[in-house]
Amino acid sequence: MSNPRSTKAGRPIPWTGLVFTLLGSLVLLFIIAPLAGILLASSFGEISDAAADEEVRSSVSLTLSAALMATIACTVTGIPLAYLLARKRFFGRSTLFAIIDLPIIVPHTTAGIALLTVVGRDSLFGSTFGSLVGTAPGIAVAMAFVSVPFLINAAHNGFAKVPVHLESAARTLGASPCRTFFTISVPLAWRDILTGMIMMWARGISEFGAVVIIAYHPMTTPTLVFERFNDYGLAHARSAAVVLLIICVLIFAALRFVAKRRSREE
């Protein structure tokens, strides 16, 4: 439309829209092509063999459960923080937002090294409760560190969208702050909270750099994919990679569907 020339019917050609659509399609293609490529390159037999492989199965169940533990633990502590950030204005608030985003920008292997300094053999925590290096809880900690910003940011957005008026009205009707939080704020922010939990879980599952520093064994699927790629090459790694990819996409699709349904019911 930036330089409209009329067609016979008198309707101008929307040039700007066409250029935008073209550029946007490029970036979409860039995301879809590799994922479609890896799926098309793998035969059904390869995938089902990998799914039956005991090593793959145990790594998948470790990956999913460690990420789930991390998500649950961070929900209990992260949601109240998100609520405070959405409601209170205090000195240093914007610094807190920056701190919460830090794990996203900290290089993953650096994050692993940093976590070693607090939960490793020689740390205060490690020498008191025992080191988490090479354990499932250690993996969960690494996953939690890199993925917790997704939960807090999503929950914060959700709470920020709830009009303060609604909470104030509930207070004047006789509801305590705690009751107001659970009957007004959380239900209205629920969709964003749930989306944040899904994103955090998925982001935990995807982590490799921080996890591999804390625990090469027990082996999560991303680590297994890396090991097979190094030891046996692309073809062997691909089938395990596809299995995890399919699981991730299915969980993600199912939970997004639930989050969408809930929000429509409200």
Binding site: H165, S168, A169, A170, R171, T172, L173, G174, P177, L188
Partner: protein
């Protein structure tokens, strides 16, 4: 009795300055002031949602300044209704009772009776976003009234609905107010609304209460020029001199019953100025020859601007009178008004 003692609160650009007022039980108190953030802040201070910087709020003499809103019993109805979108109308209305731990049966019965009272019983299972503005407002009122608040705080309750629905809701407000001794504290920028509903009217300008009066008295004694301007008074005339028979303003002698030497302004309602083609016979009135300067539609009436020497006045007349008087620019008429129709301050 609700009392505010020297309340101060600064919030951004807005300041509540040294606000003192008291409202008796069962009173309908309307705060009238121009649109702006201030009036909502005022209500939130009274509700306990915003702490005053200084000053005290008391209820029947007991200090409630630091009592949290949920234990104060002052329900607040926001201009945007603030209905809970995830609950249906019944759930919204029941909210306050549930928060107070009433049993299911009591809640159900009282939701039924309150929704009946407000004429929304047929809407109980609808979601708020499917309701019209008037229905939302009724729901918000029901939700607040069911908790039997000591004070009902109303933030521009009729501003966001259709003029006709606003008229119906005015009656609803008056009716539910008369059913109990809940204090209604209602803020608005609409003068008509204040006159219709208020037992008392307080005029708030720049965060201070400039005048507290009754609807009957408010136009007779607007206190100062700013309040008069806000109330939209026409024909406010600066008095040059007080004479034995009345006063002189812009060279015109006006006969009044003013005895107070401190009077600086007089004013006459435009609807109290009568126009005629020939002089009136009555001798008791102020009567002047005048020239029509112009006119404008003012709702269903017409506002005619006339000049008497250097004095410009507005008279409000019907369209039929306008036709009868054959008014044009420059038409010479006679205008008259009773001494008793002149107010001063």
């Amino acid at each position: 009795m609700l009392e505010l003692h020297s309340i101060n609160r600064k919030l951004g650009d807005f300041t509540l300055a040294d606000l003192t007022m008291s409202v008796s039980k069962g009173e309908y108190f309307v705060i009238l002031g121009p649109s702006g953030v201030g009036k909502t802040v005022f209500l939130e201070v009274v509700a306990g949602l915003i702490r005053p910087d200084s000053g005290r709020i008391t209820w029947d003499g007991a200090d409630v300044t630091f009592v949290p809103p949920e234990r104060r019993g002052f329900a607040l109805v926001y201009q945007d209704y603030a209905l809970f979108p995830h609950l249906d109308v019944a759930g919204n209305i029941a909210y306050g009772l549930r928060a107070r731990g009433f049993d299911k049966k009591t809640v159900k019965n009282r939701v039924q009776s309150t929704s009946e009272l407000l004429g929304i019983r047929n809407l109980l299972h609808r979601k708020p976003q499917t309701l019209s503005g008037g229905e939302q407002q009724r729901t918000a009122l029901a939700r607040a009234m069911i908790t039997e608040p000591k004070v009902l705080l109303l933030d521009e309750p009729l501003a966001a609905v259709d003029p006709r629905e606003a008229e119906r809701l005015r009656r609803v407000l008056r009716d539910i107010h008369q059913r109990g001794d809940t204090i209604f504290l209602h803020v608005t920028h609409n003068v008509d609304e204040a006159l219709y509903l208020g037992d008392k009217i307080g005029v708030m300008l720049d965060g201070t209460l400039r005048l507290v009066s009754t609807p009957e008295e408010i136009f007779r004694s607007p206190n100062d020029r700013e309040v008069a301007d806000f109330l939209g008074l026409r024909n406010v005339i600066h008095v040059d001199e007080i004479t034995p028979d009345g006063c002189r303003a812009a060279g015109v002698e006006i006969s009044t019953s003013i005895t107070d030497g401190s009077v600086t302004h007089v004013w006459i309602r435009p609807e109290d100025i009568l126009l005629s083609e020939k002089p009136f016979e009555s001798s008791a009135r102020n009567q002047f020859r005048c020239t029509v300067i112009g006119w404008e539609s003012s709702g269903r009436l017409l506002e005619v601007r006339i000049s008497v020497d250097d004095l410009t006045l507005s008279a409000l007349i019907t369209r039929s009178s306008f036709d009868d008087l054959k008014i044009e620019s420059g038409t010479v008429l006679y205008c008259t008004f009773k001494s008793s129709a002149i107010y001063c301050f």
